[in-house]
Symmetry: C2
Subunit: 440 residues, 2 copies
């Protein structure tokens, strides 16, 4: 089989030596495995040929993009071959009238954001300098602007994908409206590499706001914060982001980084709002009232305020090797989640430190835990069980992967999981695509 793979992609792109190591461990370092080979095709035809060979040999395959996933879904865990899409990195010309661009799977999200001075890419995630189009589609990446632009699924205007038998499906002309049968690109978004390999996507770009404004508001607690965020969504049409963090995470950052206190008065809860243009300033000021606040309109000042939120993923890591959970609940249960989650974790691990932050308007809370006791699943049991009782999801953004596989039944019924397995077989009858994740 090695010989056949070399015939397709060339000797130097079938890695079987120590260079496979970086492809075999996820960036958290928690998930690692062995792979017989890392194969790096250059184009769609090569992807199709590699998959056809694997299907014939019944060789399981893990597709891999920027390898920035957080749930162990993109690395070989049971001896899978790694199909790296990194060399599919061509970015087409921006179609300014359509506000669209065609990108190969290995293009990073940051390159999309930089593709045109007047246009931006709607999805912004912390890992955007490494995360790629293919991986972001496979995980339906969300991030800081879902409120305004939706997740990765909502950016797809066309897709080219390869089924596990090597069949290429190409539908890339960039139609905004197209009701001609099943919208399988929507299904590929979030399918964690189990249905097909994305090789190209036609993606929506969005007008770049001319005068965005960022405000950081201090609030006495999370209930007040949630009320204000809900009002902001309703009353500020130009709202792009509504993010939160608390004094717990901020205090850690102030101790361990060069950040200085953002407001003159410390408060318990912090709400960061970004609006797309200065025209929304009035509504913003009315909303903020007498709250302690910092407002920024220049790029450097905006970045300075954003840093308080964007550096929160680092915080728990200053205390212990962190456990990064990512959940969402209905709006009506958000305050309960955000205020009680610390106690829920303390009940199973009194020494744990819990840092929460995230996307308040989406019901999404990142629960980062610096465990005091061994991370043997008890933290997940506690957090996911609590979230399920609130009608929530055990994965808002990150996916199920390896980290959450055992808890999927908390979010999906047996009937849903059985349907998932049938859908999967419809796309991948050979059963070779990312067999370690999602039901089969």
């Amino acid at each position: 089989m090695r010989r056949s793979l070399v015939d397709v992609v060339g000797e130097e792109h079938v890695l079987t030596d120590s260079r496979t190591a970086g492809y075999s461990v996820d960036w958290t370092g928690r998930y690692r495995g062995l792979t017989p080979a890392v194969v790096r095709p250059r184009d769609t035809a090569q992807v199709a040929a590699v998959l056809a060979l694997c299907a014939t040999a019944a060789m399981p395959v893990v597709p891999q993009g920027g390898n920035t996933g957080l749930v162990g879904g993109g690395v070989p865990r049971s001896g899978e071959l790694v199909l790296s899409l990194e060399r599919l990195d061509r970015l087409g010309p921006v179609d300014r009238d359509a506000t669209q661009v065609t990108a190969e799977a290995g293009v990073t999200l940051q390159r999309l954001a930089d593709a045109h001075p007047d246009l931006d890419f709607g999805v912004a995630i912390a890992s955007r300098h490494s995360a790629t189009v293919g991986g972001a589609i496979a995980t339906n990446a969300g991030g800081l602007r879902v409120l305004r632009y939706g997740p990765m699924r909502a950016q797809i205007r066309g897709i080219e994908t390869v089924l596990s038998d090597g069949t290429v499906l190409s539908h890339l002309s960039g139609l905004v409206k197209d009701n001609t049968g099943y919208d399988y690109p929507s299904l590929l978004a979030g399918s964690e590499g189990t249905l097909a390999v994305v090789t190209k996507a036609r993606l929506r770009l969005v007008p770049r706001p001319r005068d965005p404004v960022v405000a950081l508001l201090g609030l006495p607690g999370l209930a007040d914060l949630h009320s204000l965020a809900v009002r902001a969504v309703r009353e500020i049409p130009g709202l792009v982001s509504a993010e939160f963090f608390t004094s717990t995470g901020l205090d850690v950052l102030l101790r361990h980084t060069d950040l200085t206190p953002p407001l003159s008065v410390p408060t318990d809860a912090y709400l960061l709002l970004e609006v797309s243009d200065a025209g929304a300033m009035e509504a913003l000021a009315e909303l903020a009232g007498d709250l302690p606040a910092a407002v920024a309109s220049g790029a450097a000042e905006r970045a300075r305020l954003w840093a308080y939120r964007e550096r929160h993923p680092e915080a728990a890591g200053f205390l212990a090797p962190p456990l990064k959970l990512d959940v969402s609940v209905p709006a009506a249960r958000w305050v309960e989640l955000a205020t009680r989650i610390g106690d829920v974790v303390a009940a199973v691990d009194t020494g744990a430190r819990v840092i929460t932050f995230g996307h308040v308007a989406d019901g999404n809370v990142h629960v980062n835990i610096a465990p005091g006791a061994e991370a043997d699943g008890r933290h997940q049991d506690a957090v996911f069980g609590f979230v399920a009782d609130l009608g929530g999801s055990i994965s808002a953004e990150h996916g199920i992967g390896a980290l959450k596989a055992a808890w999927l039944p908390l979010s999906r019924t047996a009937a849903e999981r059985a349907l998932f397995a049938r859908i999967r077989a419809a796309f991948d009858p050979a059963g070779i695509l990312n067999p370690s994740v999602l039901p089969r």
Copy 2:
């Protein structure tokens, strides 16, 4: 079987007499058939029981909502049983914080729009007083505001659905972010009743604009109109709608209705823009420049301007029993489509009158034809072939149904159609759901 159905829904809701007639013909009158029975369940459990009976008896079923479809996809064409969802008409309380509501399949879109004074439903289509949630999901309805809020697919925050074997899948808690396996609700949107029967949906509502403004601009031609629409999308963040029609349709309406000329000077092409608040007026005025224009901010005046666009679907009917086609193309090909479509139809039917109108920013043109010669498929051959050559879709909004089944290969490859059939079998192994539409 009749006895068993009566046991489930009651004698008065298994129709087998002349009352089946209204359910057996679509509202265009073009598609009709015979049905052994119309069954009208009252709740999800009854839907499940009816489907289980049909699966056992291998009885094909057509799910039917408001029966406002335009492609013959919701009526029995080969002796199917009609499963009417009209009695599932309960609308839950509006969750104002989440800006969501749960609606049963038979609730009309207008009831969603009227559910709360501060909130609106994002999808507005001409048939909104009759069209229902279930049908609008099954067809992924688009309409007048896709530009701003997306189609029906983008409104779904949860769904309850019944598979053909009677299995109920319920996922209704209203999560904005939920990456826990395959997003099958996205796939149900646009599936034309072939995958599952939607019984309830949790739907996004949107803030109702406080001071919307409508402007009708007159332009010398469709190329200028398209340029201006593209600029509007880029430069007016509060843009909700960008619609167009031409003097051809307007002249027919002025002759056959009580409408009077909208502008002091007649022009060839008309662009209707709606912006969500008066704050966008300045950008609108800059855009309009010296063009002939009418601007409306009061509700009655807005409705008066909208009427010119909203009455266009009637226009071709004043000339002959119309053929209503609905296509979309990439932005770069829109002008070519809009300016050449008349000649394309004339080439196969010199006596035809062609009226175009629609959603310019979505690439979507409604091509309404008052044929001069027999409607034997030649008009579709010409229009759909032309659209396919432009990289377009033979169905932007209406779906494939019966009307376009023969031309689906123009928009979807054999490999895609084969995938459709496999997806379909994964949802409906018994093969009883709406067998006359989409590939099996």
